[in-house]
Amino acid sequence: MKKVVIHLMTIVLLLGCAYITSPIQIGAFSAQEIARGAKGDDVIELQARLQYIGYYTGSIDGNFGYGTYWALRNFQDQYGLPVDGIAGAKTKKKLSEVSKYDEKFVKDNLNKGNKFSHYGGKPLANQVSKGAGKKENTQLPSKYSEQDIQLMANAVYGEARGEPYEGQVAVAAVILNRVEHPDFPNTVSGVIFQPLAFTAVADGQIWLTPNERAKEAVLDAINGWDPSENAIYYFNPITATSKWIWSRPQIKKIGLHIFCS
């Protein structure tokens, strides 16, 4: 009998320990800490809840930027929590207690690309208007826009979709190197649409729908990668018609493209 009791107590103790050490799920939030730079469903919920109680006035887009950061700090300050701008377990718990989150309303509107808000105290149905369509949800360095990413992804896919991943990042990096270079236009669109600059613009392949790989390559380039090693030109030696391009100092070959300065 004693043995059975000891066994039972051990099991209860183990289960208790497992419960205590397991991550605590607060409301619908995941167990992850969320800080500036994060993105995704947790950030959507954080923004919606902060907006519900009037702390957050920006768009609910799932990107944890400065707007969300200051709103969260104000909330933490008001509720006597450590003010660090990080949504940890305590902050999420308090936020779940004092706010509401209509996940279906928020997600539906995000998917439809509507303009909407999630303030408490007034009907949600009155807080929606038609928007420009579903937007990508990407964390970008301040100087780039979603439009830049889209255009670059189109250019990379049109120019280098058959190339290795490294080659695709290198093509995106060449576009960015040109933007910074005094010999070229100083915007992404100016560089891409400069006449005679890219074959994909001339033959219309720039308007093909880019795949995820091309988008990922663009993200790596705008986040600092340059496999071209500072190139401002590249060409395919099999198809290149310009004699001038052969006069450029060559840096490296990736796939079918030679990258030059």
Binding site: Q32, G37, A71, Q139, Y165, E166, P182, D183, K253
Partner: protein, 428 residues
């Protein structure tokens, strides 16, 4: 049989009508495009003449104040012409040299507020004015056919591609390049900056191919089992490097390592990602352990951005004198969300560390410096490159301001000695 002939005849007629329509449509598109290009060319010609006048106007005065409006015009017009040139189908060697010249001319005029040597300004701009007049004439001749409507788009393209196009664009490009070298030679800071970018002046010992592979295996032991190939950079590269490609299971990756010193320029791995997501703190910890083991010990965390499969993290060097961040000496890392593996590293900007000099720090009253609604959230010291490509010690301020009920956040970088605002950037 009659029916077949009947159907075929109708089909032929329909095809002929369709083809005629298409030809007409292409013709009108071509005319519209020629019109656009002719407009840009004429616009560039007019502005070129206005630019020359603005340059001449600045030569009338001894004091910078007298010519400030004309200098502003030079900067604006050179940017406008650059924009026109950028949208034209012209010889690339000419357009790049021309854009460079215009950009340097505009910057020189803009920066003249800080230049006290007016004799030097007069000398440079007199020469620039002569060159601009010569260039304006050349430009008029070169674009004559298009602006006068005598050439269609196709004819213009053929003329550009032709061996003997009737106009020597390449010579024009070379001439502009010479103008740039004589009128606006590289300053010491620009030259230093280029050298840093090129890494060509590294004095480190050369490493062999085997040593480069060893360095790679030491840094990334989990992915470096199978080296697919090692190539040396091409002779035109300003700094020689080993380009190592490798594969491991489903990963395909590359790493570039400098020949001098065996420094990592960049590394990137492509692999499928799992659905699991590690907490950011764990990812950051793994990254910092990697940096320490790889010998990058003088860097601190700056920022991170989450994306679908990975985190992009940024670390910057801390200099010892003021413990200021040096934003030009940066390391980028890409870390997989599923297991915290380093799948990307770019340390090309970290290899040759910026030379930072001690600099006085004057008292700045931020209450009078900023408008009353601006709140300083953070103030840290950083070395930042200014317009003249000099590394300056600066206050790196994160400030907020109410913008119609929303909080706007800005990075404002202020020189500690001159109080010059080096940069203002809106933060997302």
């Amino acid at each position: 049989m009659k029916k077949v002939i009947f159907v075929l005849s109708y089909a032929l007629v329909a095809l002929a009508i369709f083809s005629y329509g298409k030809v007409k449509e292409n013709e009108s598109l071509s005319i519209a495009l020629s019109g656009q290009y002719a407009n840009h060319m004429a616009d560039a010609s007019e502005k070129l003449s206005a630019l020359d006048t603005a340059v001449k106007k600045t030569l009338l005065f001894n004091e910078a104040e007298g010519s400030s409006k004309a200098r502003e015009d030079i900067w604006r017009l050179s940017a406008d012409i650059q924009s026109s040139v950028a949208s034209l189908p012209i010889d690339p060697s000419f357009s790049t040299s021309w854009m460079n010249y215009l950009s340097r001319l505009g910057n020189y005029a803009k920066e003249n507020d800080n230049i006290t040597n007016h004799q030097e300004y007069h000398k440079v701009m007199s020469q620039a004015s002569n060159n601009l007049s010569a260039m304006a004439e050349e430009w008029e001749v070169a674009t004559n056919g298009m602006v006068g409507g005598r050439l269609t788009m196709d004819e213009w393209r053929r003329k550009l591609d032709a061996e003997h196009s009737g106009h020597d664009w390449k010579k024009m490009g070379t001439t502009v390049k010479q103008y740039t070298e004589s009128d606006f030679p590289l300053t010491a800071s620009e030259s230093d900056s280029m050298k840093k970018k090129d890494l060509r002046d590294m004095k480190d010992e050369k490493v062999t191919k085997e040593q480069a592979i060893e360095r790679f295996k030491q840094l990334f032991p989990n992915v470096s089992n199978e080296v697919v190939g090692v190539e040396m950079s091409k002779p035109g590269s300003p700094y020689p490097f080993y380009h190592i490609r490798f594969a491991e299971n489903q990963s395909v990756s590359y790493i570039d390592i400098t020949e001098k010193g065996g420094h990592v320029l960049s590394y990137l791995s492509e692999r499928p990602f799992g659905k699991e997501v590690l907490p950011f703190e764990e990812i950051k910890q793994k990254t910092e352990t990697f940096l320490k083991n790889a010998g990058y010990k003088d860097v601190v965390y700056e920022e991170a951005r989450e994306n679908d499969t990975s985190w992009h993290l940024v670390y910057v060097r801390i200099e010892p004198e003021y413990k200021a961040k040096v934003f030009s000496d940066v390391i980028h890392l890409k870390v997989a969300k599923d297991n915290g593996q380093i799948v990307g590293l770019d340390a090309s900007e970290y290899i040759r560390k910026e030379k930072t000099a001690p600099q006085p720090m004057v008292q700045i009253d931020w209450n009078t410096f900023f408008h009353s609604g601006v709140h300083i959230a953070e103030n840290e010291l950083a070395y930042v490159e200014n317009d003249r490509l000099e590394q300056r010690l600066a206050h790196y301020l994160t400030v907020t301001m109410d913008e119609n009920g929303k909080v706007g956040t800005y990075a404002v970088i202020v020189d500690t000695e001159t109080k010059e605002v080096i940069k203002t950037e809106k933060l997302k």
